[in-house]
Chain length 404, copies 2
């Protein structure tokens, strides 16, 4: 038999009852014969509670000390889970990122894993122990504690599975990846198998089940990932190599929609690359995540540029443009918060042309105005008025076999 790395997220270990449930689930997997390594996150709201404590101390808490604080969250979970396994009669041992020398870069709160020393884990597995590992955390070469940022525990699980040559199973509070968030499209279908690239696009579009970074790492090492529910026995979703997926002949694998963006249009900018650089370079430096960009040349050496940013970054963007207006009073701008950004993803688009045309036709026949559109090899994203969102996603769902 081999090794399996199982990851349980914060909602799966939110209280003592759930930890005991997870322990039973681990034990039943262990009894099937594989060696089991478990990665856990902090319990439920622990991380948010710790963040609140830090905010009470300072509006801008020191990043290194934030990592010192946050790494306690997973340490509590690993100890309790190991205790639960031991109390049920199974040998178990827990390790922090520091103890396993999960080496990372030294960017506090957003470190990247460089290497993991699996000697200790292998030794414990040889002793038939169930190994429980703190996700989300690592240590620098100077023994400084680091955390991996959003999606960190998923990334820990993938990295460890790669190093151990293990299978990788991610358990969460939903039972797999759906063609679309079932809260938004009731009849959305669960996807049995999805390609890495499709999953990366879905994840980066906010399909929150699994983090983009983790999928990217799995993709780099061609590690299949299995995503399923902690609390049901339903078959989950396997994320794996694109080749297998294409055989299934689906054109579009999934869809996402976001109401969290704002569309900004800047009018009468000097029409040159330098302008684009000034606009998007400044925003990038300030950590504003610019997504769609469309640029329309107009006459007299002036151009209009539209782009979307998360609503929370609107103030920063506004400030930048106002600065520029001081130098150049021809520049004007407007913003529109009443938008929905819809994306469809599918590696099948590579071999099936005309997907964009089909979408435009569906929108047009139903009087839904497309306000912006961008395309990539396996993704089409477009913006519609918020009031048309539900109709738009239902039309796509029905016409591209995304519903049951």
């Amino acid at each position: 038999m081999g090794i399996v790395v199982q990851k349980y997220g914060g909602s799966s270990v939110a209280n003592i009852e759930k930890i005991k449930w997870v322990a039973d689930k681990i034990i039943s997997r262990y009894k099937q014969g594989d060696s089991v390594v478990v990665i856990v996150s902090a319990m439920g709201n622990t991380t948010n509670n710790l963040l609140a404590l830090a905010k009470d101390i300072s509006d801008d808490p020191d990043q290194r000390e934030m990592d010192m604080l946050l790494t306690t969250g997973e340490q509590v979970t690993i100890s309790l889970l190991a205790m639960a396994l031991i109390s049920k009669g199974y040998n178990s041992v827990s390790f922090t990122g520091s103890q396993l020398n999960i080496q990372t870069t030294d960017i506090h709160q957003n470190a990247r894993i460089k290497d993991i020393d699996v000697l200790k884990i292998n030794k414990s597995l040889e002793e038939n122990k169930i190994v429980v590992v703190a996700g989300f955390q690592g240590i620098t070469k100077d023994s400084e504690y680091t955390t991996l940022g959003r999606g960190g525990s998923d990334t820990s699980a993938v990295a460890l599975a790669v190093k151990l040559g293990a299978k990788c199973e991610i358990y969460t509070d939903v039972d797999g990846i759906y063609t679309m968030d079932p809260r938004r499209l009731k009849k959305a279908k669960k996807i049995d198998i999805i390609g890495y690239e499709e999953m990366m696009e879905m994840a980066s579009l906010g399909a929150g089940v699994i983090h983009h970074r983790a999928v990217e790492l799995a993709y780099n090492f061609k590690l299949p990932m299995y995503v399923a529910s902690t609390f049901s026995e339903n078959t989950g979703t396997t994320i794996t190599d694109g080749g297998m997926v294409e055989m299934e002949e689906t054109v579009i694998t999934g869809m996402t929609s976001s109401l969290d963006d704002v569309q900004i249009t800047v009018l009468n900018l000097p029409s040159c690359t330098k302008s684009l650089y000034r606009l998007f370079g400044n925003l990038g430096e300030q950590g504003v995540n610019v997504d769609m960009i469309s640029q329309m040349i107009i006459k007299n050496g002036r151009m209009n540029v539209s782009f979307t940013v998360p609503k929370e970054d609107l103030n920063k963007a506004e400030k930048n443009i106002k600065e520029w207006q001081k130098d150049d009073d021809k520049i004007q701008w407007e913003s529109n918060e009443s938008i929905a950004k819809i994306s469809v993803v599918g590696s099948g688009m590579r071999s099936h042309s005309g997907v964009a045309a089909k979408i435009f036709e569906l929108m047009s026949n139903n009087n839904i105005e497309i306000q912006m559109v961008t395309t990539s090899e396996i993704k089409i994203t477009w913006v519609v008025d918020m009031k048309n969102e539900q109709l738009a996603i239902e039309l796509i769902g029905e016409n591209f076999e995304l519903i049951k």
Copy 2:
């Protein structure tokens, strides 16, 4: 200027407001010119809350995993305190026991410090940083996390002060060591200076301000300790070498009284050393802390033995004696929970004879029956009926200058 190690206990850092207060106190000490290293405990009830979580998992949680769990408590405090110092404009850095390689024995939950690597601390002090260190915790040579048991943070502070050649200041919720617990003897006086041996006796008798182990370690290295209140500017108590104390010519330094013991009398035991070994050897193996022992030979090769144990251990003692009764039906026994165990401590007793006689006289003149008595070089302990306790301690307080 030198280095000072300050220790703040759990009640001193019980919430964010108190942590900010402690930060201000540290800063004012730092401004006086010394380099400052701070040891902190877990916040307020944190340790008890973690213990409760573990108890929900298992009645007998794994000891190694308990240490994994408990060491998170101090880690939270150090990060928050360092954040507070940084947010107030002072450079600070926090370290766990693991990061400082506070090497301990491998007895989980009751480890002993073997050595501390102070390189990191010295480097940080050279950079003018205020160093914040997690008390109560260490690490074995195999990188296993350990905790030091009761009084652990005090011990961490003393050990670190010894290694750094630093002054040692313990801040707590009372403003020093008193001749007796002021809740029990209202007019008790604060002691300005007390010898190590006296303090060790006081501490082991339950004067809870500072732990016996920490004083013992300070004594071994002749490190003076200063004990004072976190929340007042009153002068505290210095614990130091006996020589200085004797100059003050006090006979008795302090007094303690406990209502937590039970007196057990076993009658008609076979009169031989083997009997005593059987009785106290068994109790010792079961972790029963036998304190006073008095043995009275009677006729016919049988003896009576009285001793005290903590009330919580009465059941264990009872079980032992009942076993013995099965072999020897002459043995009888009785227990008395209505007792007070009073002790006076003073290195002055070495040079002042007649202290015991004076105590017996005081008790006798006031019709207080002494039910048991034991003496050591600097301590006299006697048992009275619980109803006479208050009168007894007031008589001693008045006659040995323990009150204001």
